[in-house]
């Protein structure tokens, strides 16, 4: 089976690990080989959380620079920071709603211009899908559902070997009952957003 390598980058607290888990469980139930790895030691301290998800016939659980087929960024500056994982054929999906790093708040850095960021990523990769996932998550009922919005967008691109129904079943069975409806709404909104 063809190998598909997906990187998800996020800021601690954005629910990156849950998104990876949903993909992993969906792959398990669909009998698709999957391996994942994550660096999350500082997740609760506002640092960057990176997950690597490898579908198909590969043993490695991490993804080298330039070798991601898909990059999903939960925060625009983090998407830009992870651009070295991409090559000219990579599909990039990003949320456009910024979470200011504290360094910017205290004047120790400048947040990149969002227009410039999109032009740059769009020019260097196969395709960029960019939208305000936080807004869609709010529409779905909870701003915390950014992860499910982006999961919906990822599935719509058909770059990973999973169908929407397989993922939705997992959201139904494996995410917290109180959030199931919001999560499914968020997934659908993201799925639609990636259609253009």
């Amino acid at each position: 089976m063809k190998t598909t390598r997906v990187i998800i980058v996020a800021v601690g607290g954005q629910g990156n690990l849950l998104a990876s888990k949903v993909l992993g469980e969906a792959a398990l139930s669909a009998d698709i080989p999957i391996r994942m790895s994550e660096i999350h030691g500082m997740a609760q301290r506002g640092g960057v959380v990176e997950s690597a998800i490898v579908f198909g016939d590969a043993r490695s659980t991490i993804i080298s620079d330039g070798e991601a087929d898909v990059l999903v960024g939960f925060e625009p500056s983090e998407t830009l920071r992870a651009l070295n994982k991409c090559n000219a054929g990579t599909l990039v999906i990003t949320n456009l709603s910024p979470l200011m790093p504290f360094t910017v708040n205290i004047g120790k850095g400048v947040y990149p211009d969002l227009k410039q960021l999109q032009d740059l990523i769009g020019a260097k990769t196969r395709k960029l899908i960019a939208f305000n996932a936080a807004e869609l998550a709010k529409q779905a009922g909870n701003v915390m559902a950014v992860n499910m919005v982006l999961l919906g967008a990822l599935i719509r691109t058909q770059t990973v070997p999973l169908a929407a129904d397989q993922v939705k079943t997992v959201i139904h069975t494996k995410t917290k009952k109180a959030f199931t409806e919001v999560n499914l709404n968020a997934f659908e909104l993201g799925f639609s957003a990636a259609a253009q």
Binding site: I34, S37, I39, R59
Partner: protein, 620 residues
């Protein structure tokens, strides 16, 4: 029921490497487990902790790794299958025990799990713990995948009982923190009560006994050598004139590289999973017929040195390479692309890596370093210390925990750090060697772990220092594990003791002890000033529960604050680097979703412009 206690043999679960290891221990009939938490090993013991609450598995969070190893060693000497879990540097703490435990040996199977951290994602060094096998004489096993990590544990218990020696399982972060589909196997029944047979001539390591025991250990190493030669963990794959010897996660990268480079017919691979003792005959046989050999291993040239020595014994002059300027580094972790590239270069395979996106013209992305949480009490303590010592020449030895993040500006409250507990020992040295005021910081869990001897030393040798104990009621950094000072009632567990840090410190005879509530800014500054001015050893205990832990227990009562129009933009509030603050349109704001209501900023503001969200609304 805990998912790792499932008796559904053949069931497939998506498991984290650390969950897979914990399940492996259960399948191996482990009865007694102990740990001191440390990334990347912590989830193994978290799962033991959870399972111990719904089964007859014994688990304890021990005071430190040395004690964890000792409790498990005693259990194994009563015939129980036991396992001690720690991060790589934890084995340094336990090394004294380990070295002589190898002489004494065990009756029941015993596994010592050590989790190395190449690249130091969350550690102070990247030492290669395979050398502990060589140093102690104990067998070392290494998994190459999440699935294999499970299966390794019952095997380790079996050979431990066969050899009557503990067995070391050495993992790396990319095993511990990777996830894959694992198939559950049968669970061996647990024997939870053992018996101790007195045998002082073999179990009390006075010199006359140890002289005999060392002979026995060498015999055991010989037997282990035989096991390693035949172990299914050391195997050859493929056939060809090029040889690759690899271990751990490198095996996965090598397998992928052989496929990607399409060289399956040209290369044979020797995977070493039983790495101490190294299988000499197997390696010698592998080297025969090889044109050239590449050793692929993260960390130190542990296998490379052994393989070269074996070749020399055989007078085999085949070229063997591993570490080197154009090959592999001893630094950091490997990745699939790097291994593929180096294999191609070494064997002369035409290959060029697909180009990564050129990011040279991308705007610089502002750093996002991990930081103390909004409302973290450590921030409040650091602010108070800073104010109390204004104008003094200071040195701040620090220790290992969340509070180490205070090293970053603008707090900049950490000057020296070696390892767990080093804040108290080094403080004494600084106080004698300089005229600076020494104020060292240590967390509650780290204090119990290894901070106390340094404090005793300071009292005896009459050092002049102030020790600030940051007591947030939990082991926060690694995920809120208990320690001897916590109230286990808060998590609805009874049958535990509880130590008061204040009593410990006073009992040691510290002449000046004061407790502060760090959210009360001015009172804290005053108390710290007094402690710092005391000549001799003084201790400040700063008590406030970790805000994340309080939230998880439903004990966080704070209400968010906001910056009102009284703000004159002094920006004193920004000096404490709370991530709830942001500057928008030149004005300081507080994110109400992040603010926990600690009110430290409100006490710092010279205009009293920071008020509770509700009160301010009510008065408006």
């Amino acid at each position: 029921m805990h998912k790792l206690l499932s008796d559904q043999v053949g069931e497939k679960l998506l498991l984290l490497g650390n969950e897979s290891i914990a399940r492996g221990a259960i399948e191996g009939g482990v009865a007694f487990t102990s740990t001191y938490p440390g990334t990347p090993s912590s989830e193994i013991s978290l799962n033991f902790f959870q399972m111990s609450q719904e089964s007859d598995l014994y688990f304890e969070y021990s005071t430190n790794e040395k004690v964890a190893l000792e409790t498990a060693a005693a259990a194994a000497n009563c015939g129980l299958r036991s396992m001690a879990v720690m991060k790589h540097v934890g084995l340094n703490v336990a090394a004294d025990t380990l070295m002589t435990l190898a002489y004494v040996g065990v009756k029941g199977g015993m596994v010592v799990l050590t989790a190395d951290d190449p690249y130091m994602f969350s550690s102070q060094n990247e030492q290669d713990n395979r050398y502990y096998g060589k140093l102690s004489g104990l067998p070392v096993l290494e998994p190459s995948s999440v699935e294999e990590a499970k299966d390794l544990v019952p095997y380790a218990f079996d050979i431990s009982e066969q050899l009557q020696e503990p067995v070391i399982i050495r993992t790396t972060t990319r095993i511990n923190h990777s996830t894959a589909v694992v198939t559950l196997g049968p669970m061996r029944p647990r024997t939870v009560k053992g018996d101790f047979k007195k045998d002082s001539l073999n179990l009390v390591t006075v010199p006359a006994v140890s002289r005999k025991l060392h002979v026995k250990l060498l015999e055991h190493i010989q037997q282990a050598q035989g096991l390693s030669e035949k172990s299914h963990l050391n195997f050859t794959e493929g056939d060809g004139a090029w040889g690759i010897i690899c271990n751990g996660v490198s095996h996965a990268y090598v397998k992928d590289a052989v496929k990607d480079l399409d060289i399956a017919g040209k290369v044979k691979i020797l995977r070493i999973g039983f790495s101490h003792p190294m299988p000499a005959s197997l390696v010698k046989g592998f080297l025969k017929g090889c044109e050239k050999v590449l050793v692929v291993e993260e960390g130190e040239p542990y296998m490379e040195e052994a393989v070269k020595a074996f070749a020399q014994e055989d007078q085999n002059t085949v070229e063997i390479r591993g570490k080197g300027e154009t090959l592999f580094s001893r630094l950091y972790e490997f990745d699939p692309g790097m291994v593929r590239e180096r294999i191609a270069a070494y064997f002369g395979i035409p290959y060029s890596r697909p180009a990564a996106v050129d990011v040279a013209d991308a705007p610089e992305v502002p750093a996002r370093p991990p930081t103390l949480c909004a409302g973290c009490s450590h921030r409040a303590t650091y602010h108070a210390v800073k104010k109390a010592v204004e104008g003094m020449e200071t040195v701040y030895p620090t220790d290992i925990g969340c509070y180490t993040l205070g090293v970053l500006p603008p707090l900049s409250m950490a000057d020296f750090l070696l390892c767990m507990g080093s804040s108290t020992g080094t403080a004494g040295g600084f106080s004698k060697a300089t005229d600076r005021k020494v104020i060292s910081f240590i967390g509650d869990s780290t204090f119990f772990h290894s901070g106390i001897p340094g404090l005793i030393n300071a009292i005896f040798n009459n050092h002049d220092l102030t020790l600030v104990i940051l007591d947030n009621g939990t082991t926060a950094m690694t995920g809120h594990q208990p320690h001897p000072g916590v109230d286990m009632g808060l998590i609805h567990l009874n049958g535990y003791g509880r130590l008061s840090i204040e009593n410990v410190v006073k009992g040691l005879g510290v002449p000046f002890v004061v407790k502060i509530k760090p959210y009360r800014v001015n009172k804290s500054i005053e108390a710290i000033r007094e402690a710092v001015n005391f000549k001799g050893v003084s201790v400040v205990i700063s008590e406030e529960m970790c805000v994340l832990y309080a939230k998880s227990l439903g004990l966080a009562k704070g209400k968010p604050f906001r910056v009102t129009e009284k703000c004159k933009n002094h920006r004193d509030c920004l000096s404490i680097a709370c991530p709830a603050f942001f500057v928008w349109d030149g004005k300081v704001n507080i994110d109400p979703d992040l603010c926990t209501g600690c009110a430290v900023c409100a006490q710092i503001c010279p205009e009293n412009a920071i008020l509770p969200v509700k009160a301010e609304k009510a008065s408006a």
